[in-house]
Amino acid sequence: MVHSRKALYLASVAFAASASLASAEGVEVLHWWTSGGEAAALNVLKEDLAGQGIGWEDMPVAGGGGEAASTTLKARVASGNPPDAAQLLGMALQEWAAEGSLGNLNAVAEANDWDSVVPASLKALATYEGNWVGVPVNIHRPNWLWINAEVFEANDLTPPTTWDEFNTVAAQLQDLGITPLAHGGQPWQDATIFDDVVLGMGGADFYRDAIHNLDPEALGSDTMVAVFDQMRTIRGFVDENFSGRDWNLATAMLMDGEAGMQLMGDWAKGEITRAGLTPGKDILCVPAPSTTGSYLFISDYFAAFNVSEDEKASQEALAASILAPGFQEAFNLVKGSIPARTDVSVGEFDACGQRAAADLKEAQENNTLVGSLAHGTAQTSAVQRAIFDVVTEHFNSDMSSEDAVEELQIAVESASY
């Protein structure tokens, strides 16, 4: 957010520049993948398209979660000049489709048989009223627990698999003077933990009822009270200075051994490898407590906006290239996620990536693959942020679990109209 104003300014400059290029050949793609690895991953796509004679008009808008990009996108669409494709998270794709701003990719989908290779939960978000409106790029998993192997070995601790075990291990770490959980007090990070706790304590069906369907009974249930109780317990396991900390600094605490564990998505692997450590060996990855067998997911999509007939061909070529197996493997190896189609070999991936791919398959069979609330894959942003408000306020205050559940119901009700 700090950068949002600057980004907005840069975006408007980029907009002015791109408007004058609008007649040039090629696809214009709005995205927020600006960090080194992400940019390198996108290069794979650019070269692929260049091989087909299609130019690439880059329109990057920096800012991790894509908030600035989303503001820019709104301005572009409102002015009647949308990009050919824009990076969006699942629910945003649905929101744009509901506004009637998206075209469809049915022809490409049929030609490449997307229906049989894209997991059903991803497909549900990429299609609107039966039409393919976007193309999934990757699958991230936010419900990981990262563990400093050295700290655990030295103190003879076992990675926890349930929340009860987690509480025991965390208490032991605390007694040893080690911060049990590296955490940054930002609403989305608090919500990432909340996701894990809801899924862990209630299971995938409860998660769907409460978070996806906003079923008042599930939201007001005793399970939800227990969820907030566990959140309160977790609050006791973070250090004093957690408030406002960025997630990568929390990951650094974990790698230094200052903290024993972190609940974070698989993008943490980027930080871990950059520090010269091996994910799965130096920093262990296990599913977040009590969520083994379930799979929370986030997918980045490229949304296909309504474009003129002569731009349609390059838009379709872009979509086809994105979901092509070769690109899926090359891109996701660099990005730290796993491919958005199930028929790509993951032999090259690290231990955590391979585990993710195997777990994904299992979750798909058991119908326990669910979209993450914290990362825009479960609710519209209005409802999502309303839940964030309650979760983060509860986490930062001494609000009782019963009050939090009541606040949650009020917040959800007033945000979904």
Partner: protein, 301 residues
Amino acid sequence: MPSSLHNPGKSIRGGVQDFLPRLVLSPTIALTLVFTYGFILFTTYLSFSNSGMLPSYDLVGWANYTRLFKLRAWSIATTNLLIFGVLYIGICAVLGLLLAILLDQRIRAEGFIRTVYLYPMALSFIVTGVAWKWILDPGIGLEAVMHDWGFTSFQFRWIKDRDMAIYTIVIAAVWQTSGFVMATFLAGLRGIDREMLHAAEVDGASTFALYRRIVIPQLRPAFLSAFVVLAHMAIKSYDLVIALTNGGPGISTEMPATFMYSYTFTRNQMGVGAASAEIMLLTIVAIIVPYLWSELRGNKQ
């Protein structure tokens, strides 16, 4: 340049001089009309519409305002504005007056000191926010330094405390602006007739009485303009909050401007965001209009 100085209609030059100012000013006026007043009207319209992610033109009456005043985040934001506004304006005014009076004692190196106090004003609020965020962070800032120096009992963790965090924004904002208030008051002090002060001194008035009865009452216009500037800065404050606390811990330092941005642009509830912008506008209007009215009336007399 007023054309009445010349004799218009007689020469082409006169005609041009009559016409040129209007020509030069017209783009500015047009831009202001469209981008300020036009968009005020547009926002007003949106606040009565069911706009979500994008503007929509279906009117829903007062629904957005009703929703707005039911939202916890908004009541937190308005309470924070009240706390922040009162303390910010109050402390800035007192501190600014004190500094101005001290600087007015014909001291050495006055120009240098004045510049030192005024300099924070030249910084952007983002810079101020980031710098104070580091200073106030117990892990790396003031508290850490004091601990390193051996004062291990020293504690200052307001920025991590949801009840106190709003006061850290006051601290940073006062640091930024009190120099400006000082300059305003200093200009006012310099405008006071020395003869009057001498006369009072001759009559045996104490220094305290001098300031209380003669100097400070005469600073009324300076105080009024400082108040108007500070009040609208308080209501608009956005960047400082974003840089310093980003609304946290939790949502304890939410302010109307951060609320407006988040509802309009990230939460896709543009109608509610527009309604909150209207409330902010009305608050500013309530302060500025009486001020302008008294100013304009004063000029006529």
